[in-house]
């Protein structure tokens, strides 16, 4: 945890510097008679972020924060495995949307999570993976008139059938 605390503060300080540099593309000063320029607000706030990171580092040096005096690892092997399997599932979910449509991605994500992570039966898993995307389709496309991504052309027959049902 101790090493993680200072590494994270360092990363955030670098990000703050990047934001300051990026803010400076617009005037960051006080324009006489007009008030602050377009970059003023984000620049000085980013400086605030940078100063906060320095204060966090100072507290780390003095051992004032709980993480700075902790010898515990950030996460144990089980923790890393859990976070990677769940976080990875969410990343894959979003990545799949462009290929298999939002509803297809929902179905795949539910199968992955419910059966492989949650150890639920195939019956429950497949029931939910079928019913929920259809329910979402009826709610969003039918009731709310909100179109979700439809993925690659091979998903079109599914949408044709569903649109025939709701229109």
């Amino acid at each position: 945890m101790r090493q993680g605390e200072i590494s994270l503060a360092g990363l955030l300080a670098l990000f703050s510097l990047y934001l300051m540099w990026k803010s400076a593309e617009l005037p960051i000063g006080y324009i006489s008679g007009k008030g602050p320029g377009g970059g003023f607000w984000p620049f000085w706030l980013s400086l605030g972020m940078l100063l906060s990171c320095l204060a966090i580092a100072w507290n780390w040096w003095r051992g004032k924060s709980p993480a700075s005096v902790s010898d515990e690892p950030l996460m144990d092997a089980f923790g890393w495995r859990t976070v990677i399997s769940v976080g990875g599932g969410i990343v894959a979910f979003v990545a799949l949307i462009s290929a298999v449509s939002m509803y297809g991605a929902v179905a795949f994500f539910l199968i992955y999570y419910l059966h492989f992570l949650g150890r639920h039966s195939w019956l429950l898993t497949l029931s939910l993976a079928l019913v929920l995307p259809i329910g979402l389709f009826l709610f969003f496309e039918g009731a709310m008139q909100i179109s979700m991504p439809q993925g690659l052309p091979f998903t079109q027959p599914f949408f044709d059938v569903m649109y025939d049902i709701i229109y």
Binding site: G33, V91, H120, A143, M144, M148
Partner: protein, 503 residues
């Protein structure tokens, strides 16, 4: 007496069969739309606006107002049950609603939210009935300096919200405010902070993207990692007897927050450009500040649920006031209602109360009826929402992730924003591991888009002289109070140090 007779006739108009039917449908639809993360009253009102052309104007606006009310009630449901504030107005509800749900007291949180919303909505409607024209004039005197001072006050009431680590809290606030500036500079119209030159950032970063990332993904990952995937909620039971005892407890432990939220929410809601979000945040902050047990806030205080919920309903009614009397919409939803009124051939403004009194009083009457319908329908559905929490966590968790992603897309219609939600979620998980408070960042991204433009507009008005915030009769006192509240923790630390040195 004249007001009373107008009101009675308005209530009778609202009770006509067609109107009461529309109220019941509108409130129910609004409740479910509001309960969906990413969707709020604005979606419901916008989508159902064309439906209203089938009925007379008075019935049409009554229907839309009922959806608006229902959605404001519904916002609390996703905050409590899923831990995701579905709309910015329900951010503060998450702070105590979610801890209550995790303690197996979701029904108490939901009952408190429903009752507080009812009181907030009713108090606001009474104010609306009695003082509409007067308050509209007061609201008109609120210019950019006054609104900025109010935003400063909203931040000041939240100084105590962060954790004990002050640098991390300040980092979080600044981070949220910087994120709110991404996109375009509203004054000059130039692109600003287009990060890594990715064009998607030109759209800016919406509140909902950060909120869903932090609460829907980051917080869930943290919970799964901490509890190792075991069920985190104690098994909530919902019985008729339990509902009665929850109602009693909600009244006993939530009345103070309810009144603070009802009064403060209305007055903030009336102000153009302020609206229900700052109203609910300020009410939470003030309720915590005046509480004898501030340490309970953030750990499941019914007052902490009641204050923002009363305020957001009260403010929603308040926001109707400048819309009807001055033609100035205070929120995106009231802007759509205003558009509807224009299409129906009604002209909002001071003459509306004279020229279309039947319409106006029918609408005001419907506020009372909608409020009553909303609280009853909401209470009736609480067992369903609590039942959701009884699902095994390995079913509930993927449903929350699914709703976060689908709701996130519905709110922004952009894959860029979906990736941002994932990045914010994973980032929030690691920040949470190192005790960075994230609520201040979410609040800052909500208030930032109001605070920065009003500050700069004020300085343009004063030719760059910052004294404008101190010399105006309304802005001055608010600014001074805000600065005092911001500095209060520093004074307390100094006093403590001096006392320690003296001892």
């Amino acid at each position: 007496m004249e007001v009373f007779s107008f009101l009675v006739s308005g209530i009778f108009t609202a009770l006509e069969p067609i109107n009461i039917g529309l109220i019941l449908i509108g409130v129910t639809v609004g409740l479910f739309i509001g309960a969906m993360p990413g969707l709020g009253s604005v979606n419901g009102v916008a989508i159902l606006l064309p439906v209203t052309f089938l009925v007379p104007p008075a019935s049409a606006i009554i229907f839309l107002a009922a959806i608006y009310y229902g959605a404001m009630y519904g916002g609390a449901i996703s905050s409590v049950t899923l831990g995701i504030p579905g709309a910015s107005t329900a951010v503060a509800t998450t702070f105590d609603g979610r801890p209550l749900a995790l303690q197996g007291r979701a029904s108490l949180a939901l009952v408190t939210a429903a009752l507080a919303s009812f009181v907030g909505g009713t108090v606001a409607t009474v104010f609306f009935t009695l003082f509409a024209p007067l308050l509209a004039t007061v609201a008109l005197n609120f210019g950019p300096p006054e609104i900025f001072a109010l935003m400063l006050l909203a931040f000041a009431t939240f100084v105590g919200l962060g954790g004990d680590d002050i640098p991390k809290t300040i980092f979080s606030i600044c981070f949220g405010l910087v994120l709110a500036t991404v996109g375009f500079d509203t004054i000059s119209g130039e692109p600003r902070l287009v990060l890594f030159d990715i064009q998607g950032f030109l759209r800016g970063i919406g509140f909902i993207v950060l909120a869903i990332g932090v609460y829907g993904i980051g917080e869930m990952l943290w919970t799964i990692e901490q509890t190792r995937g075991e069920i985190t909620t104690t098994n909530p039971k919902m019985t008729a007897k339990g509902l009665v005892s929850d109602t009693k407890e909600a009244v006993r432990r939530g009345w103070k927050g309810t009144w603070i939220g009802s009064l403060l929410g209305f007055f903030v809601g009336v102000l153009p450009a302020a609206g229900a979000t700052p109203g609910s945040l300020m009410s939470y902050g003030v309720a915590k500040m005046v509480s004898k047990t501030p340490h309970e806030y953030g750990n499941g205080s019914p007052d902490g649920v009641a204050a923002p919920e009363a305020a957001n309903n009260s403010a929603s009614t308040g926001a109707m006031l400048p819309m009807l009397t001055l033609g100035i919409p205070g929120s995106p939803t009231t802007a759509i209602l205003l558009g509807g009124m224009v299409i129906w051939g009604l002209t909002p403004g001071p003459r509306l109360f004279v020229d279309q009194s039947e319409f106006v009083w029918g609408l005001i009457g419907s506020f009372y009826i909608s409020n009553l319908a909303a609280v009853l329908i909401n209470l009736a559905f609480i067992p369903l929402f609590v039942w959701m929490l009884r699902m095994p966590f390995t079913i509930l968790a993927p449903l929350i992730f699914m709703l976060s992603i689908v709701g996130g897309f519905a709110a922004s219609r952009s894959m860029h924003d979906l990736w941002l939600i994932v990045i914010f979620g994973i980032g929030a998980f690691f920040l949470r591991k190192f005790d960075y408070p994230l609520a201040p960042a979410v609040l800052a991204i909500v208030l930032g888009p109001i605070a920065e433009p009003t500050m700069r507009q004020s300085l343009l008005l004063s030719s760059g002289d910052p004294m404008i915030f101190f010399t105006r009769p309304v802005a001055g006192p608010i600014t001074v109070i805000a600065i005092f509240l911001i500095l209060l923790p520093a004074f307390k630390i100094l006093r403590r140090k001096r006392e320690a040195a003296a001892n």
